[in-house]
Amino acid sequence: MKALLIDTIRCTGCRSCQVACKEWNELPAEETSFFGGPGYQNPKDLSKNTWNLITFNEVKLNGRLKWIFGKKQCMHCLEPGCVSACPVGALEKTADGPVIYHKNICIGCRYCMLACPFQIPRFDFDSPNPYITKCRLCHDRQEMGEIPACAKACPTGAITFGEREDMVREAQRRIAENPDKYHHKVYGLEEAGGTCVLHISSVPFEEIGYITDIPNEPVCANVKPAMKAIPAVMLGAALILGASYKFRNRTRDEEPAAHG
């Protein structure tokens, strides 16, 4: 199981990873008119064309100013809520770690968006044939023995890629060897049952805008009862979407859908 380790102490906020993600995944630039968030953040949020976003956080620590760059992307949960919420198996947790998405299976119901505790998946509202987008942990690169584009592009070692257990050990080593420098927590070690993207930082994660009220249990356990409570109107919508699904899959590949 592979994972990314994000170390905000090493990040210079150059955003090479953000551009490299677009380069590899052939994502067009978004039109922006000013900064989309605090500091130099751009665009405003993740979107169908932005799967990886660097955030800029001005934080005071022991009376001194810190400028901390966070990284927002799919966390690739060990037991992903999105996968368990997907009624048609369009999302898949691969054995290597990436949570990938099969565009041709998706019915556009957006349950995955509701299910994600990190609020990551985005829906392409503009397209007449909409679908879900998010980081795929460069699944295609990994298949060929290459590391994810963001990790390769990072100049300072702020993004490291490797076996999850190695990344956990490395994160814990850095914290243990520099207890005054690091906040004593590996974000993603336990959140939502653990993720394949781990973060370490000099300050508590809520101070740099990370969602921190996430239970340590996998989200999937909570999704099914939640789905039972979905009002009838949603069921109606599901019917329409189901019809759309049928329609759109007239020309679908014979390849069987993979389930996670």
Partner: protein, 995 residues
């Protein structure tokens, strides 16, 4: 596209492991040359070097069906090891956007007729012919054959040549050949306005200007001070090595008026009021002297600390002895060594004589005590002392401290002295010449050094050889002036004694068989300079109408020039302009300037489409002096052509015209060598630069082979040894480091003589033993009686040569008598400053030169301002404001201000604001941030704002130019403008007009 990308991946599969080990802080395993193991099934892989900053990162370009399909960092490149910054990562969009040629790229020759409001598409044949005709007409009608004194000068002052710092070295070299053959003297590039002062400071202090060490070497440092530079943004990959040093316990100090992405990584951040470097670093010098942290043996043996100075030399109330208020200049007759009967300087190796340099230095900087320093700079005392202590410890023999600096230090009226103060501090601490030490940074652009050293400044020929001047009546007189006399002093080398070899070999390269002993090797063909043709003056003269034609190569002065309102006005006065670039720039679109009616502008503009770095071959030189070769990955789009091809077309047409019609000094053009094949072969240019033994026809192996009798040719002596019979040394890709300290001596080639750390003889004691045996740069092996390690800076055995071989006595200059404004740095306020100089009654540099610019008063313009860059854009923006991914990240011109000032002015983040100086007015969007803060200086509160200077009115992303606000006041040593400190006022834009 999917297929080609997969095959690319299959080819690069092995890359990940090495890169991963590197990221984890383990040693990167050496791997075979990338190109050798890639056998893609579809498409091909080409190595290139990033065209943006001066770090010189390796890039892999994957192409299929003649198109760029993917770009990534080169994992085998020893500097970037597969990584890139946001600019480098976006590189493919210089060529392709969403599968199509970037729509902003020029793909046709464009012409704008006098008074027209549009570009017309033209052919190359038409353009080359028309441009050549205009050059000839302007040159012939404005020829200065002799000056007023009757000296032959063979020049024209009616045509100016500008640029570049981004084209390949070979292209810059042929451009200089063209320019000088034409007799053009107004010949300048960006380095004049970017870093000349830093280069001059290096020359004065240690003998050469460029970065002393190299990027990888930063990892060897114990403390790194980034001052006058925002390296994490302007040299992003330097931070791979800064972070590596920090992982090993090194401290990082960031000195900047604005908390930057560099400051974000620093252990110690020093918010310093802009323009007060000398005060701050002077205070550090004082701290080092007072606390005896300096490396005594180094200081005594390797600097001029022990040399005795004329007892009449002195300093009082801001002025050194010899200042003449009438002329505004110094009589430097007291700034001299005391000499013995044989003419050798007197010394006191105990450093106690009150007239020795050491004591004078101590006295001079004793005034820079911590309280005074903090009062001047606005820095808090505990932070200042913390930094002094952190950097001061590198005075220990086995410790090294590095300074990274750049244009933030250089672009001041005190630019030369700012950087002089860094060198003095580093010399005292014994940090020059050692691994992990040095003064690093300097050249900002990818080929700033490589282009500038081809003679792209008015006062030099290729290899920084002095330009012949009107007063040099003959080659003999010229050589006598520039060669100097041999030093009789023991253990010193006289570096300039080689100049006749360099100059005569240059003339042989340029004039071949037409350069004979009888005609002074064609020396009379060259133009002779007779004045100040530097950048700011060039535009002053253009504004006056003297300059009628402009050749502008990859440079954009309408955005980058100081007080660019005046620059734009001057451009309007031209009869014709030739602009060569990738995209339409503000300079090319001079007739579209805001508020201008095109019908009232009569300038003809030829806009020639150039190839990008991905589309041609050649070498470029990183800031760390590495000459690296890049290959052509794809053909240029449409009609775009390489700069080499364009220069050649012009030259061939001019040769044809002058051969047919004659003209003034026609032989300078018709006899100039030009034999590069069709189409021109860049390797032939590189070989000409390296030089030939004309008796055998073989390539010269190195500098030792050059002769002064016309039997050798060499286009640029600094490149001699770069392309030999052994092959193209610049293209070497051996990434195995045998030094253990990251020299990578067999990767590419470095100037000078493939030396990776300059002044490395100062890293050992007089017996040749390294100060720090753990990180030896060189050491003397007594068994074999030779130096091992890096190429030593001067070959004689230990004790037989002092390490600073380019200085007259082999010693570095703590006392720098060569500068026009003082042998020691002294704090003066910027030309426009909100405070009165707390150090003396001399307000600003007494020698600064100000053109006819309006000076703002503190009352009218109470806010201090500076300019800056961001990682996502490069310089004037021509190469980045047309790249959609970078424009997404940094779409608009903005200005950063503190929360305190914002509250005072009623400004909130995102508001449109108007910033106004005495010279201009711009609109921008406000970023209100904790990263700027008011300074407490000399009892007053000083607000400072900062804004990027990347924007202009052309391109995908447009905005007002910060340089509309800056002034044309310049440093007296090098004529570099004071971009980085000026007064302004800021208000919310109540009209709500689009910024």
């Amino acid at each position: 596209m999917e297929l080609s990308r997969r095959s690319f991946l299959a080819a690069t599969g092995a890359a990940g492991t090495g890169a991963l080990l590197g990221f984890l802080g383990l040693d990167l395993q050496p791997s075979v040359a990338y190109a050798a193991r890639t056998v893609p099934k579809r498409g091909k892989v080409t190595t290139t070097i990033c065209p943006y900053c001066g770090v010189g990162c390796g890039v892999i370009v994957s192409t299929a069906e003649g198109k760029v399909v993917n770009i990534e960092g080169d994992p085998d490149h020893p500097i970037n090891r597969g990584s890139l910054c946001s600019k480098g990562s976006s590189l493919s969009q210089l060529a392709m956007v969403n599968g199509e040629v970037n729509p902003r790229r020029l793909t046709n020759v464009l012409y704008r007729a006098s008074g027209s409001d549009k570009w017309e598409q033209k052919t190359w044949d038409w353009a080359i012919e028309e441009i050549a005709k205009r050059i000839k007409a302007t040159r012939d009608a404005n020829w200065v054959g002799e000056d007023a004194d009757g000296h032959t000068v063979n020049r024209t002052e009616a045509i100016a040549a500008l640029g570049s710092v981004f084209i390949n070295s070979q292209e810059a070299y042929v451009l200089t050949k063209l320019v000088r053959a034409l007799g053009i003297v107004y010949n300048e590039n960006e380095s004049r306005i970017c870093v000349t002062s830093a280069v001059k400071a290096g020359g004065e202090s240690v003998g050469r200007g460029p970065m002393t060490n190299n990027w990888i070497d930063l990892r060897n440092s114990n403390c790194i001070m980034v001052i006058g530079c925002n390296a994490a943004e302007t040299f992003p990959i330097s931070f791979k090595w800064v972070m590596r040093a920090m992982e090993q316990g090194a401290k990082l100090i960031s000195v900047d008026p604005r908390f930057t992405r560099t400051s974000a990584k620093a252990d110690i951040y020093i918010p310093m009021r802009t323009g007060t470097d000398v005060a701050l670093v002077g205070g550090m010098i004082n701290y080092v002297l007072e606390n005896k942290l300096f490396q005594e043996e180094y200081v005594t043996d390797y600097t001029n600390a022990a040399f005795l100075i004329n007892p009449e030399f002195g300093f009082e109330d801001g002025l050194f002895t010899g200042y003449d208020p009438a002329t505004g200049k110094y009589d430097k007759s007291t700034w001299k060594y005391q000499l013995d009967d044989e003419g050798f300087p007197l010394r006191d190796d105990t450093l106690q004589d009150p007239n020795c340099v050491f004591q004078l230095l101590k006295t001079h900087f004793s005034r820079y005590d911590p309280d005074t320093v903090c009062n001047v700079t606005g820095v808090e005392k505990d932070v200042f002392l913390e930094a002094c202590e952190a950097f001061g410890v590198t005075g220990a023999r086995d410790k090294a401290g590095a300074i990274i600096c750049s244009s933030g230090a250089a672009q001041h009226t005190q630019g030369t002295q700012n950087v002089r103060s860094y060198y003095i501090l580093q010399l005292l601490l014994g940090n020059i010449g050692v691994a992990g030490g040095g003064v690093n940074g300097i050249a900002g652009a990818s080929n700033g050094l490589g282009c500038t050293l081809q003679g792209r400044l008015f006062h030099v020929l290729p290899g920084n050889l002095p330009m012949p001047a009107s007063k040099d009546v003959s080659l003999e007189a010229y050589l006598a002036r520039v060669t100097g006399s041999a030093s009789k002093m023991e253990n010193t080398i006289s570096p300039w004694m080689g100049r006749p070899k360099h100059i005569i070999s240059l003339l042989k390269a340029w004039y071949g068989d037409a350069a004979t002993e009888q005609n002074e090797f064609g020396w009379q063909y060259l133009p002779k300079i007779g004045g100040n043709y530097s950048f700011v003056n060039l535009f002053e003269v253009m504004n006056a109408g003297t300059i009628k034609g402009l050749l502008c190569w990859g440079m954009n002065p309408a955005v980058s020039g100081p007080n660019s309102g005046v620059i734009r006005e001057a451009l309007q006065k031209l009869d014709w302009a030739v602009v060569v670039d990738l995209c339409e720039t503000e300079t090319a679109a001079l007739w579209k300037a805001p508020g201008l009616d095109p019908s009232k502008n009569s300038t003809e503009v030829f806009l020639l489409p150039a190839a990008s770095s991905l589309e041609k071959e050649g070498s470029l030189m990183s800031s760390a002096r590495w000459m690296q070769w890049r290959y052509k990955a794809v053909s240029p789009p449409g009609q775009a052509r390489s700069d080499l091809w364009i220069v050649e077309q012009l030259m061939l047409k001019l040769k044809e015209l002058y051969a047919a019609e004659g003209g003034h000094n026609a032989e300078a053009i018709t006899n100039m060598t030009w034999d590069y094949g069709t189409p021109p072969d860049v390797h032939k240019v590189a070989q000409e630069m390296n030089g030939y033994d004309l008796t055998t026809g073989g390539l010269i192996a190195g500098l030792g082979g050059l002769k002064n009798n016309g039997s050798t040719s060499c286009g640029n002596w600094l490149w001699c040894g770069s392309y030999t019979e052994e092959g193209n040394m610049m293209a070497r890709r051996d990434n195995i480091d045998k030094s253990g300290i990251g020299l990578f001596s067999n990767w590419a080639w470095a100037f000078p003589c493939n030396r990776r750390i300059m002044y490395n003889r100062a890293s050992v004691d007089l017996e040749g033993k390294p100060w720090n045996p753990e990180k030896p740069v060189i050491k003397w092996d007594s068994a074999t009686a030779r130096w091992v390690g890096d190429v030593p800076d001067g070959g004689p055995p230990p004790g037989k040569a002092y390490p600073f071989i380019m200085k007259p006595h082999g010693r570095a200059h703590l006392f720098g008598m060569g500068r026009v404004d003082g042998p020691f740095p002294e704090h003066y306020e910027p030309w426009e400053s909100p405070v009165s100089n707390p150090m003396s009654s001399v307000q600003s540099d007494p020698l600064l030169k100000a053109w006819e610019d309006k000076k703002g008063t503190r009352e009218e313009y109470p806010i201090l301002a500076t300019t800056n860059r961001v990682v996502e854009h490069m310089h004037a923006g021509g190469m980045t404001r047309n790249v959609p991914w970078l424009v997404e990240l940094q779409p608009r011109m903005f200005v950063e201000l503190s929360e305190e000032l914002a509250a005072e002015k009623g400004i909130t983040g995102g508001d449109r604001v108007v910033v106004e100086s005495a010279r201009g007015k711009i609109k921008a969007l406000a970023v209100v941030t904790k990263r700027l803060q008011p300074f407490h200086v000399n009892g007053q509160v000083v607000h400072q704002i900062s804004m990027p200077w990347h924007w202009g009115y052309a391109g995908l992303s447009t905005g007002d130019s910060a340089n509309l606000l800056t002034s044309r006041v310049v440093d007296s040593n090098t004529m570099i403008p004071e971009y980085r400190a000026f007064l302004c006022r800021i208000e919310r834009d109540r009209k709500g007009v689009e910024a």
